[in-house]
């Protein structure tokens, strides 16, 4: 083809050509039809967004440099979120048992309050260790800011620690674990029910604020959906139910109580599943960091250890157990037998605990992948 023109100006397709230039390190565009894997299909199904590399590459960015800073948080915060959730959930569950439980359910309260305090103990050190200047931790108490979940969290954690501590002491006094002297007598006079309600409010706060904390950021995967708080609080409930259930199955507890816990666990998981699916759907494209399978994205861990192994599987098992349990006539006569140990429920609960941990881990780590994805960050900010 002879071109008589002096110079032909190769204009179109400008975008594509431009992409070629500025992003040659991404080895241009991959137009090869891509056979999507099961995880990818799951991701598309749950988030309602199918990654489209060609159209994403056409979006403008600056050399794909991140458009927001990566979070600094790692294992300390993951464990803090997990333990905090357990502490909160256990307290709330224990309080519900205290307020509304039958006599045999007292054990739930007892175990719950102790578990709450034990789970709470590592939280402050974890938080402090995470600071750039741990010795300046106390500066957190300099202000009280409604808009800052971190500030509120510190105050909330402080208050809840108070409740959890006192409650556990009261419980311990009741249980005679602290010996018998005027102090314990004084403590045991404090009615648990009085502490349960305000304590539970702060418990719910502690269980949920961590999700709010992540949402009140500019990291797309955390902040687009407003369901992370709900998801975390639901997970706090389900994991702590599982934790108490595990403890009870180890130390032994009334079968009836355990059965109640099983039902609660089942219901909690159902709510958690609902929250999670709502979260994924509302996060849409930004959830890619959590559910995607590219390097640094959390998909493989999320789907196996959290969504599959840590939520759907135990829920299905629990469902089966409950169905089986309801078909089998319950041995109401065995009321006299005080304890039951182990069983399938133990596995379910352990799976739930695992799922709860991996929920925190994958969500926090997804923040890293998400912050590195400039295109999604910029897309997220187009509104």
């Amino acid at each position: 083809m002879r071109d008589t023109q002096h110079e032909k100006t190769e204009r179109a397709p400008t975008d594509e050509a431009f992409i070629n230039k500025t992003h040659s390190h991404t080895s241009a565009i991959e137009p090869i039809p891509h056979q999507s894997t099961l995880l990818e299909r799951l991701a598309s199904l749950t988030t309602g967004y199918t990654p489209d590399s060609i159209s994403e590459l056409k979006e403008k960015t600056y050399f794909d440099y991140p458009a927001v800073k990566a979070p600094l948080w790692s294992w300390e915060i993951i464990w803090y979120f997990f333990m905090g959730g357990l502490a909160a959930g256990s307290y709330v569950l224990a309080s519900i048992a205290t307020l509304f439980g039958k006599k045999e359910d007292r054990i739930v309260a007892r175990v719950g309050y102790y578990a709450s305090l034990l789970a709470l103990l590592p939280c402050p050190p974890l938080l402090i260790k995470d600071l750039g200047r741990p010795e300046k931790f106390l500066n957190m108490l300099r202000v009280f800011k409604f808009k800052s979940p971190m500030s509120m969290g510190v105050w909330g954690l402080l208050t809840f620690s108070g409740f959890s501590g006192i409650t556990a002491m009261v419980q311990a006094s009741h249980d005679g674990l602290l010996g018998r002297w005027w102090g314990t007598r004084l403590l045991s006079r404090i009615p648990l029910k009085l502490l349960a309600i305000p304590g539970s409010i702060f418990g719910v706060f502690l269980g949920g604020y961590t999700g709010v904390l992540l949402t009140v950021t500019s990291i797309p995967v955390w902040s687009r959906s407003k369901m992370l708080g709900a998801l975390f609080v639901s997970s706090a409930f389900s994991t702590s139910t599982a934790l108490i259930s595990v403890i009870l199955r180890i130390i032994g507890a009334p079968a009836k109580t355990l059965y109640k816990l099983e039902k609660i666990e089942w219901a909690n998981m159902l709510i958690e599943i609902t929250c999670l699916l709502t979260y994924l759907r509302t996060a849409g494209r930004t959830a890619k960091a959590l559910v995607g399978s590219e390097p640094k994205e959390q998909g493989p861990t999320f789907w196996t250890m959290m969504f599959g192994g840590g939520l759907i599987l135990p829920w299905l098992l629990q469902t089966l157990m409950l169905i089986a349990g309801s078909k089998q006539p319950r041995q109401h006569t065995s009321q006299g037998q005080p304890t039951k140990r182990g069983g399938m429920g133990l596995l379910v609960s352990l799976l739930v605990l695992m799922g709860g941990y991996f929920l925190r881990r994958t969500v926090v780590n997804a923040g890293h992948a998400s912050s590195a994805d400039a295109r999604t960050t910029l897309w997220n900010a187009r509104r």
Partner: protein, 880 residues
């Protein structure tokens, strides 16, 4: 800058960067101004906002191009085609500024009938001697003259021998088609440039031309500058606000170091160094290079020797124009140097000044060094091992020295060549004899002194603190060395040592500087006083004569006070006036008035800011236009007045006409703005003073991928080739092994070869590595990966660089063929905190004939992907 010197009279920028805001169009060519002079470029940005058109013509799309209105991508080394075509266009379409050209340039002068043009001799002018490779006989280039040796003219410009007609013929084949085929610039784009210039020149409007080493570092650099100046003269832009030619200089005091020269062929104030050329061959062959001014000898005085002061004056002075003042300048200089020992009886000590016997310029000296002829070397703030052309040869040459002294802040490559090589190359100190003295130098903030910047402006620096440790100023080093040498020779009676013994050498500080612990620092103000000039003797009204020494002498107010009778001493006449009286160092004056700022520093000569500003008024002395008025003739006061110091005899009326037999400044008419030239006019055509022809002609770079389309003569016939040197192998035309054009440039983030920047973490973080810029097309052709490594090779050396594949580089179509160009910064070396290959290992050492500057802006190379083998396991570079 003899390009400007020969054309206009003085080898300095005709204007100043701040005047750019008055421009209506700014053509930047041969300069990466935004990157090399960002603060000067701020004025371009201001001008652009005020509506000026900014045009950048360059092989490499740089930050300058990015903010221009028009960027024109051109082939390195084709500048004269581009400019020649503009000149052709102006002449052919008669869109030149007629009144300006007729009155202020030598367009009407008649040239001798025996002159032959490149059109007649296929690329050569008359007078070329192929045996010596020089224009040994330039007589035919001269004017036709009357009985008083004054040129004949034809104001109608019709005579076929007049300069304008000769130029018309000379540039006839410089056409838009030629621009298209040789520069790779479409004729539409070229026409846009011309039109922008034409529209923005004339009575009401002015355009500026900015250039820098993109022009000077070519084997025909002077002629490119000439072509640019001719264009500006034809457009009538010289000597006017917003006009002129702005030579952008790259070092704090590079202008100062040519004004008060550390150059072999110049004495202070552009008087040439006395010469006694070795061979009996025609003198022009070994004529000294004329760094910034251009030779000025009056064609009708021929002396073979300069053994006496009178002979020197005969050769270097002029009968006509300002240079008739040479006697007072040279005698005052000799008085400054030799003091009381300089008397009329001993020719003012003239014989003590060494005579040059050939080309002792830097590269030639390096070759002499390589041959073992140079034993000792002083390197004060310069780094040839990385910064000079053919750097590998430079390092070899240093190894042939007996001793060298390096004065610098950091241990630069030139100080470390004896134990370290480039790219991890092994150097065995046991085989290298050179004795090295490293003298730590004071930084500019740690000493007082003067810099002369790109606009000829002298600015004094106060001293902030003492230098650290044993670091001392170079002034101290030279002063103390001089004192020691005088002591060593104190007992000598040998005639050859008497110059040294008679040298005035007393710059002792009278009072120690406050807050300083240094007691033996010389007084820089005293040195400046000597440079300014002082009265050696003064006679009062009673006829009483008072003798003075430097310390107590009255200052000379300006160079017009200099005398031939030995009563004045002056270190550099053009600087006279900078320190006119005690306590009044005008270089240290810092008063900004928001207008011409005449009290901020001191601009030589005589504090004039726009040179040749007589040309800002029409022949009758009225401004060409209200919009562009600068100075004008005030008939009532009978003097030139205006915004600037008039660059003209202040009371010479526009209607003054010299008598036919007048000489000196009397021969300059009231309409002759370029009075440094003997005919008072700017030289479109240079009848004398250049070694490669009276008019610019296009020659290809010494290494070029294409044949010269215009002439049989491929490249500058008068260039100094150093062909016999085995380390200066040149790439022959058509060599398929070296197909790519390469051009070098500065980045904003570093300074020259890096001695002042590569030790600084802040700057290193901004540009951490040497890289080469290549087009995606070339990268594809040679399998070079973006961000990967690549090797560049010439017969002189090989270097490695990171590959920056970018569309800012663009393949050109040159005569139906694709020519790829490579862009390469040159800031790295093997010392410092950021290291990399030495770009100058690639360059050759063919020199421009007039100024002996090498060609680093256009040469050929080959490239391949990968690294140099020696550096693969080299220092754990971060880039891995």
């Amino acid at each position: 800058m003899p390009g400007l010197g020969t054309t206009l009279g003085r080898g300095g920028a005709t204007s100043f960067p701040q005047d750019l805001v008055n421009s209506d169009c700014i053509l930047i060519m041969g300069s990466n101004m935004a990157e090399a002079h960002p603060v000067g470029f701020a004025n371009v940005m201001k001008a652009k906002d005020r509506g000026a058109k900014i045009i950048h013509v360059d092989p490499h799309f740089s930050r300058t191009s990015a903010v221009s209105n028009l960027y024109v991508s051109t082939r390195a080394g084709s500048d004269i085609v581009f400019l020649g075509a503009i000149i052709h266009y102006l002449l052919e379409n008669q869109v030149y500024f007629h009144d300006y050209v007729v009155n202020y340039t030598n367009a009407p002068m008649l040239i001798r009938e025996d002159f032959q043009d490149t059109e007649d001799l296929n690329g050569l002018f008359s007078g070329f001697d192929p045996a010596s490779g020089t224009y040994s006989n330039q007589e035919s280039w001269d004017y036709q003259r009357d009985e008083y040796d004054k040129p004949l003219t034809d104001p109608t410009l019709q005579n076929p021998q007049c300069v304008l007609q000769i130029m018309k013929r000379h540039f006839a084949r410089y056409t838009p088609e030629l621009v298209e085929s040789e520069c790779g610039v479409s004729r539409e784009e070229w026409l846009q440039v011309v039109q922008a210039l034409v529209e923005n020149s004339g009575r009401e409007r002015t355009s500026t031309l900015c250039y820098a080493v993109g022009w000077t570092q070519q084997s025909k650099g002077v002629q490119i500058i000439r072509a640019g100046s001719i264009m500006q003269l034809l457009l009538g832009n010289m000597g006017r606000p917003g006009g002129g030619v702005l030579a952008l200089r790259g070092h704090a005091s590079i202008q100062g170091s040519t004004d008060v020269p550390t150059l072999y062929d110049l004495l202070a104030g552009y008087m040439p160094q006395p010469a006694e050329m070795l061979s009996t061959k025609p003198e022009s062959q070994h004529e000294p290079t004329s760094t910034t001014w251009g030779a000025r000898q009056d064609k009708h005085v021929h002396k073979n020797t300069q053994q006496t002061l009178q002979e020197y004056i005969d050769v270097t002075g002029q009968k006509l124009g300002w240079w008739s003042n040479v006697p007072s300048y040279i005698i005052s200089l000799l008085k400054a140097w030799y003091g009381d020992a300089a008397t009329a009886d001993n020719d003012w000590g003239y014989h003590w000044i060494p005579k040059i016997t050939g080309d002792h310029s830097h590269i030639n000296t390096s070759y002499a060094m390589l041959d073992g002829k140079v034993k000792g070397y002083f390197l004060l703030g310069q780094n040839p091992a990385a910064g000079s052309t053919n750097a590998r040869m430079q390092r070899k040459a240093l190894a042939q020295l007996d001793w060298m002294v390096v004065g610098d802040l950091y241990e630069v490559e030139s100080a470390a060549f004896w134990y370290k090589g480039t790219n991890g190359e092994k150097v065995d100190p046991a085989t290298l004899k050179t004795e090295v003295f490293f003298m730590p130098a004071a930084a500019s903030t740690e000493k007082e002194g003067t810099f002369t910047n790109t606009q000829r402006l002298l600015q004094w620096r106060d001293k902030a603190i003492d230098p650290p440790g044993d670091a001392r100023s170079d002034l101290w080093l030279i002063y103390q060395l001089g004192k020691r040498l005088k002591k060593l020779y104190a007992d000598s009676t040998a005639p050859r040592d008497q110059g040294l013994l008679n040298l005035t050498w007393d710059y002792e500080m009278e009072e120690p500087q406050p807050d300083s612990h240094l007691t033996d620092e010389p007084d820089a103000q005293l040195v400046l006083k000597e440079v300014n000039g002082y009265y050696v003797t003064q006679t009062n009204s009673d006829g009483q004569v008072t003798q003075y020494d430097l310390h107590n002498a009255p200052h000379v107010p300006t160079f017009t006070a200099l005398k031939t009778d030995g009563s004045t001493a002056c270190g550099s006449w053009i600087y006279s006036g900078v320190y006119p009286e005690p306590g009044r160092n005008r270089a240290a004056s810092r008063i900004s008035d928001g207008k011409m700022n005449l009290d901020w520093g001191f601009a030589w000569p005589a504090n004039r800011r726009i040179l040749y500003n007589r040309a800002s008024a029409d022949p009758a002395g009225k401004p060409w236009s209200e919009r562009k008025k600068h100075i004008w003739w005030d008939a009532e006061q009978h003097k030139w007045v205006g915004n600037d110091i008039p660059d003209f005899p202040p009371d010479k009326a526009p209607d003054y006409r010299p008598a036919p037999d007048s000489t000196g400044m009397d021969a300059i008419a009231g309409t002759d703005p370029f009075f440094m030239k003997p005919d008072g006019r700017a030289w479109l055509y240079a009848p004398t003073g250049l070694k490669d022809g009276p008019l610019p002609a296009h020659y290809e770079a010494i290494e070029s991928p294409v044949q010269n389309a215009l002439y049989k003569q491929q490249s500058n016939p008068a260039a100094k080739y150093h062909r016999d040197r085995k380390d200066n192998v040149l790439i022959e035309l058509g060599d398929p092994n070296y197909p790519f054009v390469i051009t070098t440039y500065r980045l904003t983030e570093h300074h020259v070869s890096g001695p002042m920047t590569r030790w600084m973490p802040w700057l290193n973080a901004l540009q951490p590595s040497l890289f080469a810029e290549i087009s995606p097309e070339l990268a594809q052709e040679r399998n070079i990966v973006d961000k990967g490594w690549m090797v560049l090779r010439t017969p002189r050396g090989e270097i490695e660089a990171r590959a920056m594949v970018t569309r800012r580089l663009r393949p050109l179509r040159i005569r139906g063929r694709i020519v790829h160009q490579i862009g390469l910064p040159f800031h790295w070396g093997f010392q410092g905190k950021s290291t990399g290959s030495i770009t100058n290992d690639l360059t050759h050492s063919v020199l421009e004939p007039n100024v002996s500057i090498e060609e680093a802006k256009a040469f050929l190379c080959d490239i391949r992907p990968g690294r140099l083998s020696s550096s693969e396991h080299n220092v754990g570079r971060k880039e891995h």
